[in-house]
């Protein structure tokens, strides 16, 4: 086993632990909960992995992390897995072909992914069923969660950048 391969295993193990930690944080009642709203941390974590490790690693992480989220979510099982997979692949490809890995870009990607994920959920879970007070629900429950998740994405992004530079010191591209 080469040094490079061993380093990769350690790196992805650490990433997996961080994603799992993010899942624990977002599903534990009362932990980082503000006015009844908790941040949705798993998706930003996977987006960060996709940004730093490429579309394939990001897609795999997104898929399995999405399955975890599906087990705790009210959405149809598989919804998060699919959405995370697609968003992470897109984020990885966008970083390779369109964006630089600047903090602002990563934050925008996280915010966009989280926003789209919640809008999709909002549409398929609520709008399609034509519930009452939908807009109020969106502004009081979903929008604050998007904002809170974006705020928490910043330290996640910094953490992944730090880890990536530690495990891949040769890659200085931003």
């Amino acid at each position: 086993m080469t040094e490079h391969f061993r380093r990769k295993i350690i790196k992805f193990t650490v990433y997996a632990l961080i994603v799992f930690g993010a899942y624990i944080i977002q599903t534990t009642p009362g932990l980082f909960e503000f006015f009844g709203i908790s941040p949705f941390l798993v998706l930003p974590a996977c987006i960060c992995i996709a940004v730093f490790e490429g579309e394939f690693a990001g897609g795999l992480f997104g898929f399995f992390a999405g399955l975890f989220c599906d087990s705790a979510s009210e959405t149809v099982f598989g919804f998060n897995a699919l959405v995370f997979l697609v968003f992470c692949v897109c984020a990885g490809l966008a970083t390779i072909y369109i964006f630089r890995r600047s903090t602002m870009n990563i934050m925008l990607l996280c915010l966009g992914a989280v926003f789209l994920r919640f809008v999709l959920e909002y549409f398929f879970m609520f709008v399609l069923f034509d519930y009452e007070n939908l807009s109020a629900f969106f502004y009081t429950r979903i929008a604050p969660q998007i904002v809170l998740t974006s705020i928490f994405s910043l330290p996640l992004c910094a953490l992944f950048r730090k880890l990536h530079s530690k495990f891949e010191p040769g890659e200085t591209k931003e």
Binding site: F20, F56, L67, D70, S71, F77, L82
Partner: protein
């Protein structure tokens, strides 16, 4: 980008996406997320979630003490005030209950003895050095209480007012060796004098002396006041015969009497201020101090 779409990465990712869609279709069709994967994920994450929840709860409970300190302080003050009011109400309730109980007793006694004039009183002091359970009540001459007035409870005779102040009275009980009460056994009609006994008073027992030697008195018989002498009304229950013995003089019988009233633990009493036949042959406090002398 073209390279990616032709790579096996893309095929793997597409397969995963199709798998996700299949999961969604299956979950939507079955109406439940309880598929194998969901259960597997739950099994993996459950211990961590349990641990995380317990840690979070502990931390939140700890932080709540500081975050809600002022709120809790105000709440405690509010509850203390509420408790104080509740205690006041409880005291009032207890007082009312006691009064009610006494009034019921009075009513019963009044019905059978319409001539009785009552004064309810509360025991406010009991000297620990007194061996005969004498006590002080919160009624005195201002309430019309006089020396040698009988003191009773709903159960029976307790004692006699020995000393009267303006707002208090000292009461000596029938366990006191200085108190003598004319009494008789309602079964045999044999009379004697109930008084305290040094060796028995600590057990809450008094003695019926000077019974005729040929008396047929038996254990368990009820002893009541005779009313002779005018200090105590007639037929107030005193106690029941516990044991019988021959007086040391050999001339009469003596019986140990277990008072009906719970004299050792008494808290409320009733003073009979007047009754028909009171003071007949009784002319003042000196006589009372000497006992009824029946």
């Amino acid at each position: 980008m073209q390279k990616f779409f032709k790579s096996w990465y893309f095929k793997v990712l597409c397969a995963l996406a199709v798998f996700s869609v299949a999961l969604m279709i299956r979950a939507a069709a079955s109406g439940s997320a309880e598929v194998f994967l969901s259960q597997a994920v739950s099994v993996v994450s459950q211990p961590f979630l349990d641990f995380s929840s317990s840690v979070t709860n502990s931390v939140n409970e700890f932080l709540d003490r500081f975050i809600h300190a002022e709120e809790n302080y105000l709440r405690v003050q509010e509850l203390e005030e509420e408790l104080r009011r509740a205690n006041e109400k409880l005291i009032d309730y207890e007082e009312k209950t006691r009064e009610n109980e006494q009034l019921r007793t009075f009513l019963g006694l009044k019905e059978t003895n319409p001539d009785y004039e009552f004064e309810p009183a509360t025991v406010i002091g009991r000297d620990s050095t007194n061996r005969f359970y004498s006590f002080t009540v919160d009624r005195g001459s201002l309430h019309g209480v006089e020396k040698a007035d009988p003191v009773i409870t709903a159960d029976g005779l307790v004692g006699i007012v020995w000393e009267v102040g303006l707002t208090y009275s000292h009461v000596r009980t029938i366990l006191d060796i200085s108190v003598e009460v004319g009494a008789y056994d309602i079964a045999t009609r044999d009379g004697g004098i109930v008084t305290g006994d040094l060796s028995l008073s600590s057990e809450g027992i008094c003695k019926l002396k000077y019974l005729p030697k040929e008396s047929g008195i038996a254990n368990g018989n009820l002893i009541v006041t005779s009313g002779i002498g005018g200090v105590f009304p007639k037929d107030l229950p005193i106690g029941r015969v516990k044991s019988i013995e021959i007086d040391p003089s050999g001339l009469s019988l003596a019986a140990e009497i277990d008072p009906i009233a719970d004299i050792e633990n008494i808290s409320n009493v009733t003073i009979i201020k007047s009754f028909n036949g009171q003071s007949i042959g009784f002319s003042g406090s000196e006589e009372a101090e000497e006992g009824e002398g029946e």
